[in-house]
Amino acid sequence: MSLFLVSFASAQERFLTKKGMISFFSETPIENIEAQNNQVLSIVDATSGKMAISILMKSFMFEKALMQEHFNENYVDSDKYPKATFKGAIIDFDTITTSERSLAIIGNLTIHGETKEITINALTKKTGEVIEMAGDFFINLADFNVKIPSIVKNNISEKIKVSFRFQHKPYKK
């Protein structure tokens, strides 16, 4: 079925959002750190079930401006690696319905210049002309070569919870 879709898809039905939300949360007994980005670009190709996400690192907003500066300067090198990206495919995308159901997305996540294959579960539905996806997953900072200096080891969690919510709308060139 998917071979058919991939190979013979000619009518490219694509859905896009430029206002996707991605937030991350680091929890330690000492402090919680949270940041949110409401300008995430995400696109879904409805004929193939493939998707791609592009995240501008400097658009993550923190509660404290100094934290934001340190995030960009010292942890993710935003000048050198301005974007995080994901490219992957939604498994069984053809089963999408108007009622929410969990679908797996497999693909490559690139942060800080390091790429790792991950599987993410997303609650997915299509209502009218909108493809909605939401969920959360954990990443290990070490997988993306983001180093935490020993002095703040107790303030920043090695495991970061990432949440996302996208409302893709029909994309016309």
């Binding site: 079925m1 998917s2 071979l3 991939v6 694509r14 896009l16 430029k18 300008q39 670009l41 995400s42 696109i43 190709d45 193939s48 079930g49 493939k50 998707m51 791609a52 996400i53 592009s54 501008l56 400097k58 658009s59 404290k64 401006a65 100094l66 500066e69 960009n72 300067e73 010292n74 090198d77 000048d79 050198k80 990206t85 490219k87 992957g88 495919a89 498994i91 069984d92 497999i106 693909g107 490559n108 200096p149 002095i151 703040v152 303030n155 994309y171």
Partner: protein, 285 residues
């Protein structure tokens, strides 16, 4: 399960072909962003003098700065460590762009207050602008009791400083700053001393690692105090950042830390060994 596996395999196999296109679309669709260049310097000081960096909105910083005596005083004075000028200061971000500071130095029991305002920001992308400009103004009041016969009024104890800070982050490791400076003193020691002194500051920082940078700063005066045989101030520093703190270790030919003083009242000859070891410690709340 088998179907899922097969689907997964087929999709991943053709991933490179199609998803790359999708990322290209996102690249094209990405709105052009205004990107404000941040962290031109690590601290609010390059070495002794101010950098364009402000305290952020509602952040309170407590700073303790020390300058020891001259290194060339030798072993008896433990290379200057027996003597110290200390400045305590509280600095607060009224907004992200406006910082107010109050300090007190032990040298001549000087109180100082300043305002620093970020007027223009260096930007890339939309509305790109090549450098940043901040305005700085301070008043310092000497409160040390005058020696008999040289009594002065409060107004005569005041000093004013105005600076325009022009900085550019050339790349992620190199930043430079030009600092045109005007210093006015209400009272001068002798008639030959100018009330108004113009100076031009040169500052730079070079990052040697993510959290360590080397800084240098020089103030060229265009007029000098004759009564004390003043010299231009030269200073070098190392910034070490750890979490929310910046620790600065400093070598300077000035023992003071307020603008009116280190810019116009420095007498040490750096290359003659009149070097003061010092540090700035800050804690942000």
């Amino acid at each position: 399960m088998k179907k899922v596996f097969l689907n997964t395999f087929l999709i991943l196999a053709s991933l490179q072909l199609c998803s790359q296109d999708l990322l290209d679309i996102l690249e094209r669709e990405a709105p052009e962003m205004e990107n404000i260049v941040s962290a031109t310097f690590k601290g609010t000081r390059i070495v002794n003098g101010h950098s364009i960096e402000n305290r952020k909105n509602k952040e309170l910083e407590f700073i303790i700065s020390h300058r020891f005596g001259r290194v060339n005083t030798g072993f008896e004075e433990l290379f200057g460590l027996d003597q110290a000028n200390i400045r305590f200061a509280l600095e607060y971000g009224l907004t992200d762009d406006l910082t107010v500071g109050l300090g007190r130095s032990s040298f001549e029991k000087t109180y100082d207050g300043y305002l620093k305002y970020s007027l223009l920001k260096q930007k890339t992308g939309v509305n790109a602008f090549p450098f940043a400009v901040s305005l700085f103004g301070s008043i310092a009041a000497k409160s040390q009791k005058a020696i008999p016969g040289e009594e002065r009024t409060f107004a005569e104890s005041l000093f004013y400083v105005g600076q325009v800070l022009i900085a550019k982050k050339v790349n992620s490791s190199l930043s430079v700053q030009l600092t045109p400076t005007y210093v006015h003193r209400n009272l001068v020691a002798i008639d030959a001393d100018p009330h108004d002194i113009f100076a031009l500051g040169f500052g730079t920082r070079v990052k040697v690692s993510k959290r360590v940078s080397l800084n240098a700063e020089y103030y060229q005066q265009f007029d000098k105090l004759e009564s004390i045989n003043a010299r231009n101030s030269l200073a070098f520093g190392v910034d070490i950042e750890s979490g929310g703190h910046v620790f600065q270790i400093i070598l300077s030919n000035a023992i003071t830390m307020v603008e009116k003083s280190f810019i116009t009242e420095t007498t040490g000859n750096f290359f003659g060994g009149d070097i003061h070891l010092g540090f700035n410690l800050s804690r942000t709340f």
